[in-house]
């Protein structure tokens, strides 16, 4: 169909009017001589305005000049062009068209008309772009998601290779977000994430990327860095910005901070996935180092983390294979000669390494969620054991050491309630005590006190362990409602020959009296210790001089033996 008598145009037009398809006919110079009704509907221009114009009137400016050059070239060579085009309506709105153009020639081969037919596919294109957006953008914050981040990282790496400049991949995890999410609800959590996204974007330049991976994890790509120190300055700014207070739904101010892991390209010359993994590993170390800080990746980090993971894996496996047991160390009331309670101490019966003491493996896991699992196991085992002793006629208080990580959780009291419900629903008062050790991890004493209060409602009492070794023992004592303080073994051990240690022991006993608390010196190694402590007005005590920690099955025989000895004495 390369030529057509000109009166055929009338038929053509009539046909397209009915088919509801846009039809534009121009002369050989490209001047519009006729349009179908549909053209006016789609473009918003009345027929009169279009006649005499060039189709360039529809141009959107969205296609480069080369696009039109290719179109014309096809029309010259093949007399036909077809494709998608973005045009502009009279009111300025973009329309997407599926367009076909044919060049009509006469018998001599001269072009006499151009005939363009098109349909409006704007709806379709917009739906597609929404899908595309959903596939590449995070719906909550509108930031690039993991997929788009991958593309951007690839581009950034290519860019670095060309320019010889540096690029930083920064993995950001918020500290304290979960707490806000838990106490104020998801809605408030989402608002906070949006605010964080905005703050991050306000701190970067146009060619940088801020992406959200999900949850409270974000990634920054800082491009085109002169050197690595430029990145460190930017990150310090970002840390400060994130740590500024956030307005919460109840008009109070919430605080979160960021732990940031950074890996620098080309120092870490790897692919996108590896860069992200390295930044993530560095973030983990920043978290561990106390949060609200950043950590630069180096290859040794990976080794360290692999080693740590290997160990955690062994602990998890040991838990599954029931390699952990509790031993119990009696607490003596030396004045009355009776045992008032026992401290549960965890042991790892390692299949290869033999019996491991708590201080050999607890430090390795205390910063990991595994501490929650092992902690729960400890409470359950202690409750179950004490119930058995109760059944055998022994009324004892068992003390369990809680991990700081457990105490930090706002749902800790619910855990204790559930464990009591499951293991010993009718547990009498005074059978479970929780020992708290002062540590930097437990700095939010007000919320810890709330946790303590809620546990006390479950008939659980509290003890401050290792008293006197930390920096804020007195603050702990003042803020937390506890029943007992335990004097650290290091003071007790040397009190017989070190005057300063003796003074501390005396002072803590006095402190206990002033606060109305029981005082339990630990590390009582000899009869001399016992006599001396009794003379200082201290009745309760614990240590090798009384009994070593023993397996559960040895406890009742020991108690019976101890009682008999006392009767004889």
């Amino acid at each position: 169909m390369s030529t057509l008598p000109s009166d055929s145009l009338t038929y053509l037009l009539a046909a397209f009017q009915h088919a509801h398809i846009g039809l534009v006919i121009t002369d050989a110079k490209g001047i519009i001589i006729e349009v179908s009704q549909r053209v006016s509907e789609i473009s918003g221009y009345p027929r009169d305005l279009l006649i005499g114009q060039r189709p360039a009137i529809f141009k959107s400016g969205r296609h480069p000049e080369t696009f039109y050059q290719a179109m014309w070239q096809a029309l010259h060579e093949k007399a036909y062009w077809s494709g998608e085009i973005c045009n502009r309506r009279r009111d300025g709105e973009f329309i997407y068209e599926q367009l076909s153009i044919a060049a009509l020639r006469d018998e001599t081969g001269q072009v006499v008309h151009y005939v363009a037919v098109f349909s409006d596919i704007s709806e379709q294109v917009r739906a597609e772009s929404r899908i595309l957006q959903a596939a590449y953008l995070d719906t909550l914050t509108g930031l690039p998601n993991r997929r788009l981040l991958g593309d951007r990282l690839d581009q950034a790496i290519a860019q670095c290779k060309r320019s010889g400049r540096h690029m930083a991949t920064c993995f950001i995890d918020l500290d304290g977000f979960k707490k806000i999410n838990d106490s104020y609800g998801h809605e408030a959590g989402d608002q906070l994430l949006i605010a964080v996204a905005q703050r991050l974007q306000s701190q970067v330049r146009g060619n940088d990327t801020v992406a959200r991976l999900g949850g409270d994890e974000f990634v920054l790509l800082l491009n085109d860095l002169e050197d690595d120190s430029e990145c460190v300055q930017a990150i310090q700014r970002i840390l400060d910005k994130i740590a500024e207070p956030y307005l919460l739904p109840d008009n109070s101010h919430g605080k979160v901070s960021a732990s940031i892991g950074i890996t620098l390209y080309p120092a870490d010359a790897n692919d996108a996935d590896t860069l992200l993994r390295h930044a993530d590993q560095a973030m983990y170390v920043a978290k561990e180092a106390g949060k609200n800080c950043f950590q630069l990746y180096d290859s040794r980090l990976e080794q360290r983390l692999l080693a740590r993971k290997a160990t955690l894996h062994r602990v998890a496996q040991g838990l599954k294979q029931q390699q952990f047991v509790l031993h119990y160390q009696p607490k003596l009331d030396a004045l009355r000669g009776c045992i008032t309670g026992l401290e549960a101490l965890i042991r790892w019966h390692h299949p290869i390494l033999g019996h491991l003491e708590p201080n050999q493996f607890l430090p390795v896991i205390e910063d990991d969620d595994l501490a929650l699992t092992l902690g729960e196991w400890t409470f359950r085992a202690a409750l179950r054991q004490n119930r058995a002793w109760h059944g055998a006629g022994f009324a004892l208080c068992v003390s369990v050491n809680a991990f700081p990580r457990q105490l930090q959780r706002t749902d800790f009291p619910e855990l204790i309630r559930r464990l009591i419900d499951e293991e010993w629903p009718d547990m009498p008062a005074g059978r479970l005590m929780i020992e708290i050790v002062e540590t930097r991890a437990l700095h939010e004493l007000d919320s810890l006190e709330q946790t303590i209060e809620r546990c006390r409602a479950l008939n659980v009492s509290f003890s401050l362990d290792d008293f006197g070794t930390g920096y804020s023992s007195l603050t702990y004592l003042r803020t937390l409602t506890v029943d007992e303080i335990k004097i650290d073994r290091s003071f007790v051990r040397d009190m017989l020959n070190d005057h300063e240690d003796l003074s501390i022991v005396e002072a803590v006993i006095g402190l206990g009296k002033a606060f109305g608390l029981k005082v339990v010196p630990e590390g009582v190694e000899s009869a001399t210790h016992i006599e001396h402590l009794l003379a200082l007005g201290c009745e309760l005590m614990q240590g090798y001089g009384i009994a070593r920690p023993m397996p559960a099955e040895a406890v009742i025989p020991w108690l019976q033996d101890h009682n008999n000895t006392n009767k004889d004495a």
Binding site: A307, T311, R314, N359, Q360, F361, P363, V364, T469
Partner: protein, 144 residues
């Protein structure tokens, strides 16, 4: 950064010829060198805490690897004295690291010199001698 101690260089004298053991030893050497450099730069309690934590972690996963190999290949039966000495050195390592942590927890200053003297000494003695015997045994067993 100037340091009182030379960093340990990985040489063939440290190799046992058992791939998994050598890989883990390389890690220990790196960790101790790191501790050396870091502690020269700053004397920070949380840093020593982190170092001792890493060493404890190492003690669990590495000693486990070695002692499991000893068990499965029958080292104890073949060389009871060597096996006992070997295990004893492992226990001594853990005990020493714990002692350092306990000292820290009791607010005592840890001398960097003491910590590094112990670590360097242990490493050289253990890896260059005790582990060489075990390595030779494992290589022989695996060749059989």
């Amino acid at each position: 950064m100037a340091s009182d101690y030379d960093l340990i260089e990985w040489t063939s004298a440290l190799e046992t010829g058992v791939a998994e053991i050598d890989q883990q030893h390389r890690y220990l050497v790196t960790a101790i060198n790191d501790a050396n450099v870091q502690l020269a730069a700053e004397h920070d309690i949380s840093l020593i805490e982190q170092i001792t934590k890493d060493l404890l972690s190492y003690a669990i996963f590495h000693f486990d690897t070695e002692e499991e190999l000893m068990q499965t290949l029958g080292y104890e039966q073949a060389a009871p004295d060597d096996a006992a000495r070997h295990q004893q050195q492992h226990r001594q390592f853990s005990a020493q690291v714990i002692a350092v942590r306990d000292q820290l927890n009791n607010g005592l200053k840890i001398s960097r010199k003491d910590l590094l003297t112990f670590l360097n000494g242990w490493l050289i003695n253990h890896i260059m001698h005790t582990d060489q015997d075990l390595g030779a045994f494992i290589r022989k067993k695996r060749a059989e």
